[in-house]
């Protein structure tokens, strides 16, 4: 028997057979395989896709300029009347006589914008902190983590409100910054944890042993592998961002200029009409809930899918 040749042949065959995907399936691929079949994920992804699509095409769908008080003549403070649904305006108007449906449709854009920008900013800040702390350790880590501790010791909404209050002028930008600031320590903490875990891992040690440059070790080996939980968190954070933005609006810290509609802001300004014209609140609230649910569903199913314990 000549084991060598036999072995070589076998491994060759194995290598070929492995490429058809049956031999081994990567974390991402197996996650994807499970995701594709998970009803939670499909539902969530469907919602998000519809939402994003809506945001993209809403300018085409909306028949009216959301800033125009087209139905103003039907608004009366004196007898608290708000335009009823009518011909061109399937949902009627809001308390200023602006077309509700168009506002809802175009509101998706701003809502998406706020949530996305805030999360991206939060993620960016958190990434920076996390990389600083996780990759370099030592006193950088200590300082960064103390700051993060302090930020985390202020309840999130408080922090957001505090940041929001700092701005001279209220705008969507204020909301975005406020919401993003809340996310920074969360992402920072999370990433630091995963980065530290990566730092101690064998493959990073191997890269170091190989003489790979520090920067490359951090950005090519540690970061990509540490990002999994962060991506999950980011998805969940999109939901949180939408809800937080709504809460800020509710507290009067939302965007002041309402010519470009946003759901949280619509909901916030509808609170006075809750018992007389509940539909003003229900429409944006419903949209927020559904979209937040979408992001939550996707985030949760991603988390499940990426959980190595559940991986096969």
């Amino acid at each position: 028997m000549v084991p060598g040749t036999q072995r070589g042949k076998r491994i060759d065959e194995l290598a070929e057979s492995g490429s058809d995907g049956s031999a081994g399936i990567s974390l991402a691929a197996s996650a994807w395989r499970r995701l594709r079949r998970s009803p939670t994920f499909l539902l969530g992804a469907g919602i998000i896709a519809a939402f994003v699509l809506l945001a993209l095409v809403s300018p085409l769908l909306a028949q009216h300029d959301p800033a125009l008080r087209l139905l103003e003549d039907q608004v009366s403070r004196a007898d608290n009347s708000i335009p009823e649904p009518q011909g061109d305006f399937p949902l009627g108007g809001d308390q200023y006589g602006r077309p509700l449906l168009s506002r809802l449709l175009l509101g998706s854009q701003q809502t998406l914008l706020v949530a996305l920008t805030a999360t991206v900013l939060g993620l960016g800040g958190g990434l920076t902190l996390g990389i600083l702390a996780g990759a370099f350790g030592g006193w950088v880590d200590t300082v960064v983590m103390r700051v993060v501790d302090v930020l985390l010791s202020v309840p999130s909404l408080l922090l957001a409100v505090s940041i929001g209050a700092l701005f001279q002028q209220q705008s969507r930008f204020t909301v975005i910054i406020a919401v993003a600031t809340v996310q920074i320590p969360i992402f920072g903490r999370l990433l630091r944890g995963t980065m530290l875990a990566q730092r101690a891992s064998d493959h990073v040690l191997a890269a170091r042993a190989l003489g790979v440059k520090q920067r490359s070790v951090v950005f090519r080996h540690m970061l990509p592998n540490a990002l999994g939980p962060v991506v999950v968190q980011a998805t969940l954070m999109l939901a949180v961002a939408i809800i937080d933005a709504a809460a800020l609006s509710f507290l009067g810290l939302g965007a002041a200029d309402t010519s470009t509609p946003e759901w949280g802001q619509m909901l916030g300004s509808a609170q006075n009409f809750f018992d007389t014209h509940p539909h003003l609140a229900f429409w944006p609230a419903g949209c927020i809930i559904v979209v937040a649910l979408g992001f939550t569903l996707v985030g949760e199913s991603l988390r499940d899918a990426l959980d190595p314990k559940k991986r096969r």
Binding site: D149, V150, L157, A246
Partner: protein, 336 residues
């Protein structure tokens, strides 16, 4: 353990100091300022300048900070200008803390009492109808803005059905004695049972609204952790010993599954306090959440300072307690 506690308390001090500096700087950076709050729309340049002078707001920042620190260590954070004008801010905090505590504790209790057992049974029967139902419920719970839910609850239960009071902490005309500031407790201590009951009824709706997110989180953590623990080798060991279901559930599964839940409960105090800002506004509960939102609206520096600082301290302390509890349950952490 002691050493660990001391260490954590040390961290508390750091948080306090850093936060006080941040807060001080931040409050000074806010637009407007106490002068506007005091003078209102009738202010003139002149009266404004006079007030700034009188309140020492024209002194250099570090002088102001030093004065602030000197007074702060004695518990003097100045006088409220907007929330309860004229009342020392510390007093405002102390008077309002019980309301928030009462509310948060009840909310947390609701969340735990419902969330943990539900989480356990859902985890036990993964994929069953109870599991699916409660997961759906918890997912939706997280997606609903707290204030919207609060409105909804109030609208349905207080206004439409009239079953529960719409707002406040207690019927004002009840004329109850308020010894501790915890109204339910007060009523029970003094034997004014109707007052206690009334206060309790007032708490129900806001607590229900406030508990949704903690419930959802606690439920999910419990469920996930039960699922994890059920897979653990020691549960298999317990089964191999032929132990009864009760012992396995209590001693082996739940005790271990509770560990992450305990931590979560600590972290949820943050969510509770955030939620309280919204819920208290909707239900007009005179707690620190309301003090905060009013403080922001009315630029009440003093109250904001105390409340944020104290809230952060409470939060850190609660988490310290939680961690100690964790260590009490988990012997692996006791030696730290």
């Amino acid at each position: 353990m002691l050493r660990y506690t001391v260490r954590r308390l040390g961290q508390l001090v750091i948080v306090a100091v850093v936060l006080s500096i941040l807060l001080f700087g931040w409050l000074r950076a806010l637009p407007g300022g106490p002068v506007s709050a005091l003078l209102g729309e009738r202010a003139t340049e002149e009266s404004r300048a006079q007030l700034v002078e009188q309140l020492g707001l024209n002194q250099p920042l570090h002088v102001q900070y030093w004065k602030f620190v000197q007074r702060a260590v004695t518990g003097d954070f100045g006088v409220s200008t907007g929330v309860q004008p004229g009342t020392p801010a510390m007093e405002v905090f102390l008077q309002r803390m019980p309301a928030t505590l009462e509310l948060s504790v009840l909310a947390l209790l609701l969340a735990v009492v419902v969330g943990v057992p539900l989480g356990y049974f859902a985890g036990r029967r993964q994929g069953g109808w109870l599991d699916n139902l409660s997961i759906t419920w918890s997912l939706i719970g997280v997606a609903v803005p707290v204030f919207f839910l609060a409105f909804l609850l109030k609208y349905v239960f207080a206004i439409e059905l009239g079953a529960l009071p719409a707002s406040g902490r207690q019927e004002v005309s009840i004329d109850a004695t308020h010894a501790t500031g915890f109204y339910v407790l007060d009523g029970m201590l003094t034997g004014e049972w109707d007052a206690a009951w009334n206060a309790f009824l007032h708490l129900l709706l806001p607590a229900a609204a406030l508990s949704t997110i903690p419930f959802a989180v606690i439920f999910r953590i419990t469920r996930a952790s039960v699922l994890d623990v059920l897979e653990e080798d020691f549960v298999r060991t317990a089964r191999s010993k032929g132990l009864g279901a009760r012992v396995i559930r209590g001693r082996h599964v739940l005790r271990n599954a509770m560990l992450p839940v305990v931590t979560t409960i600590g972290l949820q105090t943050g969510a509770l306090l955030s939620g309280a800002v919204l819920t208290e506004q909707v239900f007009n509960i005179t707690g620190i959440g309301q003090a905060l939102s009013l403080g922001f609206q009315r630029q009440d520096y003093a109250v904001l300072q105390v409340v944020i600082l104290a809230t952060a301290m409470v939060y850190v302390l609660v988490n310290l307690v939680v961690d100690l509890t964790y260590a009490a349950i988990d012997p692996r952490l006791r030696e730290r």
